[in-house]
Amino acid sequence: MVPGEGASGYWVILASFFVACVLAVLPLGPWLAWLRPEWLLLVLTYWVIALPHRVGLVTAALAGLLMDVLEGAVLGQNVLALSLAALLARLLYQRMRVFSLAQQALTVFLIVGLHQLVCQWIQNLEGAGARSFLFLLPAVTSALLWPVVRLVLRAARRYYYVH
């Protein structure tokens, strides 16, 4: 987030995060809820890969704080999980850019899986953890939806010249 790099299209990034937040709290049935992809993490991952000089750890931490409040989680749970995921994306962004879509989806699967594990770990500290491995399902759905998210966000980024 260096201001000198041009503050173009801040609102595109903000809007994408807002839409991700809405999708993240959209009411789903009790079974569908287990499949809900980690929308915020997908959007965050895209921006970290596309614009690593603007979206990074600080953005991830702030988004995590909002997510904690939205989810009613312990404050800090998503801050930690999203920051770790952003760090990982940050380390991998040069490779991610040359990966094929399938390879990218696999990487996203790993990033989201790590995010879910960290969330689960903190929920266990609180005494409210899941009792099955169903909490890993969002990693699968997120990886499957990654191509769509990437396509939409890339179109938006190119259309509005966000760089």
Binding site: P30, A33, I122, A128
Partner: protein
């Protein structure tokens, strides 16, 4: 990264250990209200279709059904006045004076906690409707939960089936007291630490006992579905099914409990 790690550690300790952040959480919650408004739009469209795009036939049927139900309820209520007076007289004989009369506020469910592990609802009434943390929540079937946090326009509710929630109950048939604990699955409560010889049967209705002074007395909570008495264990394993429609209710009632002296006999 170190900075973020330190911030996370501070946040986690402050929130988990000392509950210091409830104020800032309420502020953030109020700021995030638009997210819930937008997320509620599909549901609102569904509700609009329900009210505006119904055939005359279904409306007539609904109407007839409601009339019948109303008649039945009115019939049942006829005895209520005399029973209440009776109850008040008996209570005054026993020198226990206070009777509860509860006011309710209708609220609408506008959101469900996105994390399936947490059984929380978001209601459309908040601080501006004087909702308070700890306030009980019921629906037509029975007790649903209690208010956890209140922001300006929304309230966050913890359901009785959340793994971190417990409610003091008693068996309606004979008054045996117990504690019903949430299990994290929406149709199951567990009752722990009930001696194997206690008189409790399948199908028994569990109602709030009013102990702990959080929930008012006498609201149905669950019906006992299974009892396992293992001679090797000190306690029976009892599971119950909540009577409230926890996963379906759209309109719910927030109970304002008031301690009122009722003039009887």
């Amino acid at each position: 990264m170190t900075l973020v790690a330190l911030a996370v550690a501070a946040l986690l300790v402050a929130d988990l250990r000392y509950n210091r952040l409830d104020g800032s959480r309420a502020v953030l919650d109020t700021l995030l209200a638009p997210v819930f408004w937008v997320a509620g739009i599909p549901g609102a469209i569904g509700a609009w279709q329900d009210t505006h795009l119904r055939s005359r036939q279904t409306l007539l049927e609904d109407n007839a059904h409601l009339r019948r139900e109303n008649l039945v309820l009115k019939g049942r209520q006829q005895q209520l006045a005399s029973l209440q007076a009776d109850n008040a007289r008996l209570r005054s004989l026993l020198n226990s004076t206070a009777l509860l009369r509860d006011d309710v506020l209708v609220a609408e469910v506008v959101g469900v906690a996105p994390d399936p592990v947490r059984h929380q609802l978001i209601l459309d009434k908040g601080d501006d409707a004087s909702v308070y943390p700890g306030q009980p929540l019921i629906d037509a079937g029975g007790l649903m939960g209690q208010v956890l946090e209140v922001s300006r326009f929304h309230a966050r509710v913890l359901l009785i089936t959340d793994a971190t929630h417990s409610v003091p109950v008693q068996v309606n048939r004979n008054g045996v007291r117990a504690v019903a604990e949430g299990t994290g699955s929406l149709d199951r409560l567990e009752i722990h630490h009930v001696a194997a010889t206690t008189d409790i049967e399948e199908g028994d209705l569990l109602v709030t006992s009013g102990l702990g002074q959080r929930f008012p007395i006498g609201y149905p909570v669950a019906t006992v579905t299974a009892i396992e008495r293992d001679p090797g264990q000190a306690f029976a394993r009892i599971t119950a099914r909540p009577t409230a429609a926890l996963d379906r209710a759209r309109h719910v009632l927030l109970v304002f409990a008031r301690n009122e002296q009722e003039a009887g006999g």
